[in-house]
């Protein structure tokens, strides 16, 4: 323990060297910027940094890269809240309530809470990373295909909470998302499915294309066809969150942070899944679930904390096992090798300065990001002063850049427009769009892990219940499904009790 404290102190000493400090600043500033800009996410951001780090020492480089990684999670919410354009994959769910809050003139509260939530999650994340990295890495190893299947099924159950109105329509949206997820090369057999002979569909449909289409493009087309209110401007009520806002979202932030972190530790789960799941959990346990989707502050606080938590959780398996859990950490693994450092279980014992340097830099980086992001809130909120007729075309261009930068493919842009038009139809017919997006994210993982598990068990379905973690998750999934129902029953019986008394 005392030794660790000593190591942490030496980590701080490394970070506070002027050059390192400057690079960390560059990392977090660039990260915020990349987060704000649609189309360029942390993966390409870290890749962009690589040439700059050629002549650095490895600690500085890794510090800068991880600064960029979690910095992007701070910025990602900005365009989601203000324009309904998700800046990153992991900020898709922030659109749901963030944009509604902005419409009500509470953009300041939403932006401020997401910055504070990111900070809290970042700090909790680094504390967990510092104390639990190796044991948590071992915990992640316990997750095999059966456990992943049950976990993803639990996530999919949470899609049902994103539902409003007709149950069959909400489930239809889930089904459509699952169907979209089957497009592309099947990982277990190599069979090409539903690509209509098109090369650009072989890797499937990126869910950012779907999200930008259903949210941003549909919003623009919708506004264009409903011109009555177009000229009115949104009044900004308060540029900063109030104490009431903070108190209201504190629970959501704490839950989102820890949930995000633990999900982030598991390879392949990632920040986007974590943000969706934490949103669903928050809605599920809320006393007023109906508020969600109409501008609930907790609907912003939870996912924005979760994606930050997840980005730090992903560092656990990279640093303690050498197994990158996300696209961004995979690029960081490549960078480590470039410095001649072999990522693996021996990394922390052999290069403690890297681990502790990163941990120390994360404490400082998160404070820097909070200081950087809070003053930006009123500034960004000013975007809403732009008249709608000018702003809406800009949203189309920003979304297009976001999609085009993914793979430089026109097909993706065409699909985005197609999904935009679908979004209009879905609005008119009152089919909810969020469950479809979540199903597209989780569907392929549900399918693949189910088939992996069944191949391993030689077709025995018991495999999902004999493994304790998997069984627990399945019970939770069931509970998730029944929870609203149970609560209604409980409320009714309480009501009866009151009457009797």
């Amino acid at each position: 323990m005392a030794e660790n404290l000593h190591l942490l102190m030496s980590g701080f000493a490394i970070v506070l060297q002027p050059l390192n400090f400057i690079w960390l600043t560059v990392g977090v500033v660039l990260g915020t910027m990349i987060g704000v800009l649609p189309g360029i996410g942390p993966i390409s951001g870290v890749a962009l940094l690589i040439p700059l780090t050629y002549n650095m020492n490895p600690v500085t480089a890794l510090m800068t890269m991880s600064g960029l990684y979690y910095g992007a999670m701070y910025g990602g919410s900005t365009t989601s809240i203000l324009l309904n354009v998700p800046g990153e994959n992991s900020s898709v769910v922030t659109c749901l309530d963030g944009f509604q809050l902005a419409k009500k003139g509470r953009a300041g509260s939403a932006l401020g809470i997401s910055a504070i939530g990111s900070f809290v999650a970042g700090t909790i994340g680094v504390i967990l990373l510092q104390f639990l990295a190796p044991p948590l890495g071992q915990w992640a190893l316990a997750f095999g295909p059966a456990e992943y299947f049950s976990l993803m099924l639990l996530g999919l159950m949470s899609a049902t909470t994103l539902n409003e109105g007709s149950a069959s329509k909400g489930l239809m949206a889930v089904g459509l998302g699952l169907a979209l997820g089957t497009i592309g090369i099947d990982l277990q057999t190599g069979t090409t499915r539903f690509t209509f002979g098109r090369l650009d569909l072989l890797d499937g449909i990126d869910f950012l294309v779907l999200a930008l289409g259903l949210f941003s493009i549909a919003e623009v087309l919708w506004e264009a066809t409903h011109r009555e209110g177009a000229a009115e401007r949104i009044k900004l009520n308060s540029p900063y969150p109030t104490w009431k806002d903070i108190k209201e979202s504190a629970g959501a932030i704490l839950r989102g942070s820890s949930l995000g972190f633990f999900l982030g530790v598991l390879p392949g789960v990632g920040a986007s899944t974590a943000s969706f799941v934490s949103y669903a959990v928050e809605k599920q346990i809320s006393k007023n679930p109906d508020e969600f989707g109409k501008g609930a502050l907790r609907g912003v606080a939870a996912p924005e904390s979760a994606n930050n938590g997840a980005s730090e959780g992903a560092l656990v398996s990279l640093l303690s096992l050498g197994l990158p859990g996300s696209g961004t950490t995979a690029v960081m693994l490549g960078a480590l090798m470039m410095f001649g450092i072999q990522p693996g279980p021996m990394l922390i014992p052999k290069h403690p300065e890297i681990f502790w340097g990163i941990v120390a830099s994360m404490y400082i980086g998160n404070v820097m990001l909070l200081i950087l992001n809070l003053p930006l809130v009123p500034l960004f909120a000013k975007i809403l002063d732009i008249p709608k007729q000018l702003l809406l075309p800009l949203i189309v261009v920003l979304s297009s850049i976001g999609v085009y930068a993914l793979s430089n493919s026109r097909t993706d842009l065409e699909m985005m427009l197609f999904f935009g038009l679908c979004g209009i139809l879905m609005r008119v017919y009152q089919i909810p769009t969020p469950p479809m997006i979540l199903a597209l994210v989780l569907g392929p993982m549900v399918e693949q892990s189910m088939r992996q598990a069944l191949t391993i068990s030689r077709g025995n379905w018991n495999t999902f219940v004999v493994h304790p973690i998997s069984a627990t998750l399945l019970v939770l999934a069931l509970a998730f499904l029944l929870f609203p129902f149970l609560r209604r029953v409980a409320a009714q019986s309480r009501l009866k009790g009151v009457h009797r008394a």
């Binding site: 993966i43 390409s44 870290v46 890749a47 690589i50 040439p51 050629y54 992640a140 190893l141 316990a142 997750f143 095999g144 295909p145 090369i185 099947d186 990982l187 277990q188 057999t189 190599g190 090409t192 090369l199 650009d200 072989l202 890797d203 390879p267 392949g268 398996s317 096992l321 050498g322 197994l323 990158p324 859990g325 696209g327 995979a330 690029v331 693994l333 490549g334 090798m337 470039m338 410095f339 001649g340 072999q342 990522p343 693996g344 279980p345 021996m346 990394l347 793979s407 430089n408 493919s409 693949q448 992996q452 191949t455 391993i456 030689r458």
Partner: protein, 332 residues
């Protein structure tokens, strides 16, 4: 106010266009603008590392007088980038692309109608090999143990890889197993979306055997969480983490499986550009920067072949991989 900024913007645009057309007007000899190296996948994998390493060494050694930038063009196992290079970059001297065996595989399995014959091989640079590994806790200690068990009952073990059937991880294991006399069609194969998930499932014993690129396992071999049973190389690695891992041939299976990586140009690449780049690559592989900063760090083996020899190597590979896919019944 608005009028002024409007004029300003227009003027700015005009000036930009003018300046640029003047600079573009005076054509110089090749190369006179930046060269793009396409990595046909996202950041982080072997293609990306190769493209970035080439770009870096060419810059450090000043073998190419202009800047080289890396562009990631992911999709369809490299097929999207291939179609782009074949269809849109014909005759362009400023686009290069990195490929490895999937270039041949996606053509053989019909995913891509284009193949190595449609682009210009400039140089083979490196070779990597595949490894067959088990968890440190496994009861199987040698490749022979594994193959014997599979010969007795092909379903007695689960084999995992980090890519779909018909791609390298799958093929390299099945090639070895079929040579050893295993009925490979019945061997259960699980594919994971990336090397991390493959390794964690191997370490924790969810799968019995992993077949993947050597690089994926180095960190685990070092920590002794994973044991290498065989590499598909013709001779043992000298790296301390790998020197105790026998080759397939030593284990009684006389095959090798190469994961070559090379640089290609677009179809009909101009002769001056082709000559210039070929020469630069030839000098690059001799440089200490290449040996120290790339080969040593990534554990890649130098496998330089100039364009024409690379071409005939590709012809052989195409035939061998085609035969293997037919044996496994994956193509007709």
């Amino acid at each position: 106010m608005f009028r002024r900024s409007y004029h300003l913007a227009l003027a700015l645009l005009l000036v930009l266009i003018l300046v640029a057309s003047v600079t573009a007007g005076c054509a110089k000899k090749y190369p006179n603008k930046p060269i793009t190296i396409i990595a046909p996948a996202g950041p982080g994998g072997g293609w990306d590392l190769t493209a970035r390493s080439v770009s870096k060494v060419l810059a450090d050694t000043k073998l190419v007088s202009v800047a080289t930038t890396v562009e990631n063009q992911a999709g369809g196992g490299g097929g999207v980038a291939l179609a782009n290079v074949v269809q849109n970059k014909k005759g362009d001297g400023y686009t290069l692309v990195v490929y490895s065996p999937p270039l041949i595989l996606i053509n053989l399995n019909g995913q891509s109608k284009f193949g190595y014959k449609d682009i210009t091989p400039l140089a083979r640079l490196t070779t990597d090999y595949q490894i067959i590994a088990v968890s440190a806790k496994s009861k199987y200690k040698t490749l022979k143990d594994v193959m014997d068990a599979l010969k007795k009952d092909p379903k007695s073990l689960t084999v995992g890889g980090a890519s779909a059937p018909g791609s390298m991880d799958h093929l390299s294991f099945m090639l070895a197993a079929s040579k050893a006399g295993v009925n490979v069609k019945d061997v259960p194969y699980v594919s994971f979306p990336d090397g991390s998930q493959l390794m964690s499932n191997l370490i924790s014993g969810k799968i019995d055997v992993a077949s993947t690129g050597v690089g994926e396992t180095l960190g685990q071999l070092e920590a002794k969480t994973v044991i290498g049973l065989a590499v598909t190389a013709p001779k043992r690695y000298t790296d301390p983490r790998l020197k105790d891992v026998p080759t397939l041939k030593e284990s009684g299976i006389d095959v090798t499986f190469d994961v070559w990586r090379g640089i290609f140009g677009p179809p009909d690449m101009p002769a001056d550009a082709k000559a210039y780049i070929s020469k630069a690559l030839e000098n690059m592989v001799k440089s200490t920067n290449w040996k120290k900063d790339v080969l040593e760090k990534y554990n890649w083996i130098d496998a330089y072949l100039p364009g024409d020899q690379f071409k005939s190597f590709l012809d052989e590979q195409n035939k061998a991989l085609g035969d293997l896919l037919k044996t496994l019944g994956l193509i007709k």
